[in-house]
């Protein structure tokens, strides 16, 4: 009994430390986003602003260009996530359901595409999109983001599909459904939680993508992660607006991520149950 109490106390302490550790930078950024520029530089630093100001948010939202980056991010993320699902779901289903002698090679290519460092791809991407006269459009950045999210969707959805017993589909097909109908009517509704988790994680990949966005986007197509970096000029950093922009960048993803957190873990650990 005594031991149990000790374990509980130790656990509690660890959890409290973890909470402080997690929230420390976040709370600092949140407070900083409400500070006036002069207050950013007090020594020693003060956590709570003496005067809460909305100046930083005003600067962000009164600039049409900044607001536009938000919508650019939404557009790029949505399109690339839809692409990822369109390409990824059938492929995942195919991989999960059929035995094919080249399946290993295929898994390898898909995994490798996911694991390749972005820096390897970014220069050819830029030059090719210029040659094809696509610069200034959303196409290069959307394609680049789906390049990361398609393999991810395949990889993750495969795990969800293989959990659905094949007998379900077979039963449906005996009732006269085609394989495609069995997929859409029986299997897809069952993996819906998996699809939602997959789309959130794909969205996360695209929303947070930085290097490709930095190189491939211009004035009109710029996304939020690049904007965060825009408040650093040669001679000056505006920490306040940067904090505000950082929070605006992260809040949507935190909200979506927490909505699907249970399935998220499941998707991320695909393969470990084997």
């Amino acid at each position: 009994m005594n031991k149990n109490i000790i374990i509980k106390i130790v656990s509690l302490i660890i959890v409290i430390i973890a909470l402080i550790w997690t929230l420390y930078p976040l709370v600092w950024i949140i407070f900083s986003s409400f500070k006036a520029p002069l207050e950013q530089f007090t020594i020693p630093p003060k956590w709570i602003p003496e005067k809460f100001t909305l100046r930083n948010y005003k600067i962000f939202f009164s600039n049409a260009e900044f607001v536009r980056t938000f919508f650019n991010s939404v557009l790029v993320t949505t399109s690339s996530t839809i692409l990822a699902l369109i390409f990824g779901i059938p492929a995942a289903y195919g991989l999960a359901r059929f035995n094919w002698k080249h399946a290993n090679l295929l898994s390898f290519i898909i995994l490798l595409a996911r694991m390749t460092p972005p820096v390897v791809m970014v220069l050819p991407f830029f030059l090719i999109s210029r040659y094809l006269n696509l610069s200034g459009t959303y196409i290069p950045i959307i394609i680049a983001c789906s390049f990361f999210s398609v393999p991810f969707a395949v990889w993750m959805m495969q795990g969800f599909f293989s959990e659905i017993p094949e007998s379900l589909e077979e039963a449906a097909r005996i009732d006269g459904c085609t394989r495609f109908e069995a997929l859409t009517k029986i299997v897809l509704p069952l993996v819906l939680p998996g699809i939602s988790a997959t789309s959130i994680l794909c969205a996360l990949i695209s929303w947070n993508e930085f290097l490709f966005a930095l190189v491939l986007t211009g004035q009109e197509t710029r996304t939020l992660p690049v904007l965060v970096n825009m408040f650093v000029s040669e001679k000056n950093v505006d920490w306040g607006v940067m904090s505000a922009a950082a929070l605006i960048t992260v809040i949507p993803m935190i909200v979506f991520g927490l909505l699907v957190q249970n399935n998220l873990v499941k998707g991320l650990t695909v393969g470990s149950e084997k």
Binding site: R130, V232, N236
Partner: protein, 428 residues
């Protein structure tokens, strides 16, 4: 079939319509002087009927974007607004066009533009400065004019406390105001970067030394060089210990927060110092050019010169409109109009303009320094320039400061490296 024809006709119409409204496409970074000239873009359209549009990139990858775009051969802008340090590479690659080959370039009234000599290369003019600044010292006027401080200084050093004209005075004043942790004598930029290299270059030049000789051989490991480097180390004694990690932003913040009496930075600092939103020393600061040793006080010597300005892309189909824009934006009237939004104009006639002087009294010190020095870019204007400063000079200064090498050894090693580099690139 019919549909397709309609589309073709529509496209053709679009092309014709767009060519009637002639336009010029500008490209720039995100920075205060760009914000300044953006304010006259509408006036330009009203006056000339040419529509000016702008694309901006974050400073950190602006040059990458330019280089890659030029390399790809699909250039979608006419006028790149760039740092002076970048134009030699672009000119060598003939990505930018010689302005003197365009008719009407003489109307730019070149003699009035300070530092214009740096815009010429191999007999061609590629670059028109718009924002000009010098490396010098910003100092706290309230401290320098305080009678108590003046008396104390007079007693301690035997001469009057004034903005430093000589290196000796500069050191004395830094020592005098060194009162840590509330106030430091001076602020420097000690992070291993191009900024740190400027502290060495300024002192090298002030002593009459130079980086390279006329044959492009390194000569900065001379006696003047060694003295200059040792003096950089000396000055750090009067600065915040954190200054060893500073770049421009940090040094500027330290000064605008009132934590140092002087800062060895660039004229632009004054624009930030005068902004009540971010500065605690509004109206309490001014600027002087970099000091000299006593014996060279009246010589015209190189002084650190930083500039941004306009160029014209070789691929541009609107070169005449582009030149018209440059003429318009660098016109004295428009420079003066835009300056309060965040620029230090390049024209003598602008920095001597009475109205502007009333707004920016510190322009006096700047103008004086500009006229009595040879404005010299911090990087030699050759394609290898950046590498010489970033890969050899900055590390050498950093190694001396950290104590891992003596001044002589650090400079000799750097000179060997530069010699090898230049030899490999076929200079000798």
């Amino acid at each position: 079939m019919v549909k397709r024809k309609v589309i073709v006709v529509m496209l053709a119409c679009l092309l014709i319509v767009s060519s009637i409204f002639s336009q010029v496409k500008l490209v720039s970074e995100v920075g205060i002087h760009t914000e300044a000239w953006k304010t006259v873009m509408n006036d330009f359209q009203e006056e000339t009927g040419i529509k000016a549009t702008i694309q901006q990139f974050p400073y950190s990858n602006y040059f990458d974007q330019l280089m890659l775009t030029f390399t790809s051969g699909r250039v979608d802008f006419d006028v790149p607004y760039i740092s002076m340090l970048w134009y030699p590479a672009l000119a060598t690659a003939s990505y930018i066009y010689p302005l003197n080959k365009l008719s009407g370039y003489e109307e730019l009234n070149l003699e009035d533009i300070s530092g214009i000599d740096n815009g010429w290369q191999n007999g061609n003019l590629y670059y028109i400065p718009y924002m000009n600044e010098l490396g010098g010292i910003v100092y706290r006027t309230d401290l320098f004019n305080d009678p108590k401080e003046k008396a104390a200084f007079q007693e301690q050093y035997g001469y009057e406390l004034v903005p430093p004209k000589t290196l000796e005075q500069y050191r004395d004043i830094a020592e005098f105001f060194y009162r840590p942790p509330e106030l430091y004598g001076v602020t420097l930029m000690g992070q291993r970067s191009i900024f740190l290299a400027t502290h060495f270059l300024q002192r090298l030049w002030a002593r009459g030394g130079n980086l390279l000789d006329s044959e492009m051989k390194p000569i900065f490991n001379s006696k003047e060089g060694i003295e200059a480097l040792q003096e950089v180390g000396e000055m750090f004694k009067y600065a915040n210990p954190s200054a060893k990690t500073y770049v421009f932003q940090d040094a500027l913040t330290e000064f605008t927060q009132g934590r140092s009496a002087m800062a060895e930075i660039w004229t632009t600092a004054m624009l930030y110092t005068e902004n009540p939103e971010t500065s605690r020393v509004v109206g309490k600061a001014s600027f002087v050019g970099f000091p000299r040793p006593e014996e060279l006080k009246n010589e015209k010597l190189p002084m650190l010169y930083i500039s941004w300005g306009f160029t014209i892309s070789s691929a541009s189909k609107n070169k005449d409109q582009a030149l018209q824009w440059i003429k318009f934006v660098t016109d004295t009237k428009n420079e003066v109009k835009a300056a309060p939004y965040g620029n230090i104009p390049a024209r003598f006639s602008s920095i001597n303009d009475e109205e502007l002087r009333a707004k920016f009294p510190w322009l006096e010190g700047f103008s004086e320094a500009m006229e009595n020095s040879i404005p010299t870019p911090m990087v030699p204007l050759i394609p290898e320039g950046n590498s010489i400063i970033n890969d050899y000079i900055a590390p050498a200064v950093s190694e001396y400061l950290s104590g891992s090498k003596t001044a002589e050894r650090a400079l000799n090693d750097a000179a060997d490296g530069v010699y090898k580099l230049m030899k490999e690139h076929g200079y000798y």
